[in-house]
Amino acid sequence: MRLAITGLQVSFGDRRVVDVDELHVGAAEIVGLAGESGSGKSMTTLAVLGLAHTVGATVRGSITLDGAELTGLSQRELREVRGRRIAAIFQSPATAFSPVFRVGSVMHRALRLHGMSKSEAAEAASRAMRQVLLSPGLLDRYPAQLSGGQLQRVAIAIALALRAEVLLADEPTSALDVTVQAEVLEVLRELRDSGGMSVLFISHDLAVVAELCDRVAIMREGRIVEQGPAARVLSAPADPYTADLLAAVPVIGAEAAP
C-alpha cells in the first residue's frame, strides 16, 4: 500500500470530526473519498499532509507512506514528504498561486526547494507541462493570465515534476466548467495509467467519482460508512446513506417540466 490510514482520529477539543478505521490507496490507484460538506473529507486531507494542527486540530492514529509512519514526524521531516512525495491540489487553483509570481517561477522554486539544479528544474517543468497537455510557454504567464483549468493543470504539473507518489486532490474540478473538468479528469487518469501515480480524490460529486475512481469510500460525519470498488458501491450501495447520495445526483434526460 502506498498510502495507508489506520485508526485516524482528528478532533477539535472534544469534538471528533474524523474517525476513520481504515483507508488505503494502492500504487496506480485512484480512490475516491466522497461525502457532503462537513463530512470530514478535507480534514482527512489536512491530516495526511501533516497540516491539521494549523487549523487547531489534534491527530491520533497512523498514516503511513510505503510503510513508513508519517504521524509524529517533525515539521522539518514532514517537509521532505509533503509537496515532494505527497502532493496536493485544491478546489481553487487561483488561491494556490501567488498572483504576483509567474507560474513558472512558482514551479521552479518548488523544484529547487526539493533539491533540483536550475537546469534540472527547467527541464522537469517543461516536461511536466507537456504531460498535462499544456504548452511550456505558459510558464511565463501570471496566474491571472491562465484559465482555471489551465491553472489546475499547472498545479498537477508541479506534483508531476516532483515525481510525487501520492496526489491528494481535494475537489479539484468542482470550480471548473464541465469541458475543462473532463480534461483534468483525463490528465489524472493518464497519470495513474502511465505514471503509476496514486490519487486520493476527494469529491462530493458521485458522477465524477463513478467515472474516475477505482475504489470509493463514502464518508459521513467523519466515518466511512461504506467502501469498495467504485462500480460496485455506486451501482449496488450497501449503505442507505450512499443510496441517498446517489438518488440526489441530477440526471440528464429526466422528464423536463416537473
Binding site: 463513478a210 434526460g253 422528464e255 423536463a256 416537473p258
Partner: protein, 360 residues
C-alpha cells in the same frame, strides 16, 4: 414535457398583448471594452410556469444575459422587453414595478445576505421597501415565506451564519419570492451546494414554479439541471446562441457540435467514457473572436466554409435553432440516447490531438 408554446395560450401576460412572451430579448449586445460579452442574442420566455435554461462555459455570456434582463448592465445593442415594454425606457414607478417583478437568485447567497441582519428582517426589508406590507405584517409574511421554502419559521430570528449553505440558498429564494415576482433569474443557484442540498433546491424550484406561476431564466453549466427544470434551453458560446430548442430534444439529439461536446463531457453514473468528444483548448478570446464560426478552432467537424463564413442561427428542425453549417449532419448522426456514440470515432479528430496548443 410541456412545450413552452402551449403555455402561452393558457396564461396570457397581463399588461402585454396576449400571446406575447413575458421576456423578449432581441438582438442583445453587451460589450465590456473590446470584449463582446453578448453578441446578438435573441431569446423569448413565455409567462410562467416555465423555465428557459442558459448553458455554456465560463465566458459564454450566460450571466451577462441574465443581468441584462434585469437591467443591471448597460447594453450596447438590442432590446429587452418585459410585458411588451422596452425595459431601457422604464422610469420612476414603472421601473420600480419592474424591479419588483423581476428578481434574481445568485450562486452565493452570502453575497446577498447581510451577516448582521436576522433572517426575518432581511426578508421583511424587501416587503417594506416595495410597500407590500407594513413592518409588523412583513414579519409575519417573512415567517410564512420561510415555511413556504421548507425552512422552520423560527429561523426568522437567526443570523445567516447559523444556517447551512443550502438553507441560506432557500432563504435567498424566499427573499426573492417575497415581492411576488413574475420573472426569476436563477444564476447558478446550486453550484456551491452539495449534491443533496442541490437536489432539495431543484425540487423546491420545481414546486414553486407551479404554485407561484413563475417564469425563470436558469443560468447554469450543469446540463442535468436544465434537463430537470427547463422546457427550453439555449446553449451559449462566446456570447452567441449556438443552439436552442426544447431541452429534451436538444440534449437527446444535439444539432450543434458544441452541444454534443458539452453533453458528452458530463460525467454520469454508469456512463462509459468511450463516447466522449474531447474539446481541444479553451474558448477563444471574446475581444478577438476567430473569423467565420467562432467555434471552429475547437470543432471536430470544421470544414473550410466554417473558417470563412459566420453561420447564422437558423431553424434546423421543428422548434430547433442552430448556428452551424453542418447542423443537419450533426442532427442525423447524434444518437438519441444515451450519448453521441458515433461522434468521436466517425468524424472526430483524435482526442487531445491539439489540446497542447495554448490560446494565441
Amino acid at each position: 414535457m410541456t412545450p413552452a408554446d402551449g403555455e402561452r395560450q393558457v396564461s396570457p401576460t397581463p399588461g402585454g398583448p396576449a400571446g406575447s412572451p413575458l421576456l423578449d430579448i432581441s438582438d442583445l449586445a453587451v460589450r465590456f471594452g473590446p470584449v463582446r460579452a453578448v453578441d446578438g442574442v435573441s431569446l423569448q420566455l413565455p409567462a410562467g410556469p416555465c423555465g428557459l435554461g442558459l448553458v455554456g462555459e465560463s465566458g459564454s455570456g450566460k450571466t451577462t444575459i441574465g443581468r441584462a434582463a434585469l437591467r443591471l448592465v448597460r447594453t450596447s445593442g438590442g432590446v429587452v422587453r418585459f410585458d411588451g415594454k422596452d425595459i431601457a425606457g422604464l422610469r420612476g414607478r414603472a421601473l420600480q414595478d419592474y424591479r419588483r417583478a423581476a428578481q434574481i437568485v445568485f450562486q452565493d447567497p452570502d453575497g446577498v445576505l447581510d451577516p448582521r441582519m436576522r433572517i426575518g428582517a432581511t426578508i421583511a426589508e424587501a416587503l417594506v421597501a416595495h410597500r407590500l406590507a407594513g413592518r409588523r405584517a412583513a414579519g409575519a409574511q417573512a415567517r410564512a415565506l420561510l415555511a413556504e421554502v421548507g425552512l422552520d419559521p423560527a429561523f426568522a430570528a437567526r443570523y445567516p451564519h447559523q444556517l447551512s449553505g443550502g438553507q441560506r440558498q432557500r432563504m435567498s429564494i424566499a427573499r426573492a419570492l417575497s415581492v411576488r415576482p413574475r420573472l426569476l433569474v436563477l444564476d447558478e443557484p446550486t453550484s456551491a451546494l452539495d449534491v443533496r442540498a442541490q437536489a432539495a433546491i431543484l425540487a423546491l424550484v420545481g414546486r414553486l414554479r407551479a404554485q407561484r406561476n413563475l417564469a425563470y431564466l436558469l443560468i447554469t453549466h450543469n446540463l442535468a439541471i436544465v434537463s430537470e427544470l427547463c422546457e427550453q434551453t439555449a446553449v451559449l458560446y462566446l456570447g452567441r446562441v449556438a443552439e436552442s430548442g426544447p431541452t429534451g430534444a436538444l440534449l437527446g439529439r444535439p444539432a450543434h457540435p458544441y452541444t454534443r461536446a458539452l453533453r458528452s463531457a458530463v460525467p454520469e453514473l454508469g456512463s462509459t467514457r468511450a463516447a466522449r468528444v474531447v474539446l481541444p483548448g479553451d474558448p477563444p478570446d471574446a475581444a478577438n473572436p476567430p473569423p467565420g464560426c467562432v467555434f471552429h478552432p475547437r470543432c471536430p467537424l470544421a470544414v473550410d466554409r466554417c473558417l470563412a463564413e459566420v453561420p447564422v442561427l437558423r431553424t434546423v428542425a421543428p422548434g430547433r435553432l442552430a448556428a452551424c453549417h453542418r447542423a443537419e449532419e450533426v442532427l442525423a448522426t447524434s444518437s438519441a440516447s444515451p450519448g453521441p456514440a458515433r461522434a468521436s470515432t466517425a468524424e472526430g479528430s483524435p482526442p487531445g490531438s491539439t489540446a497542447a496548443a495554448p490560446p494565441a
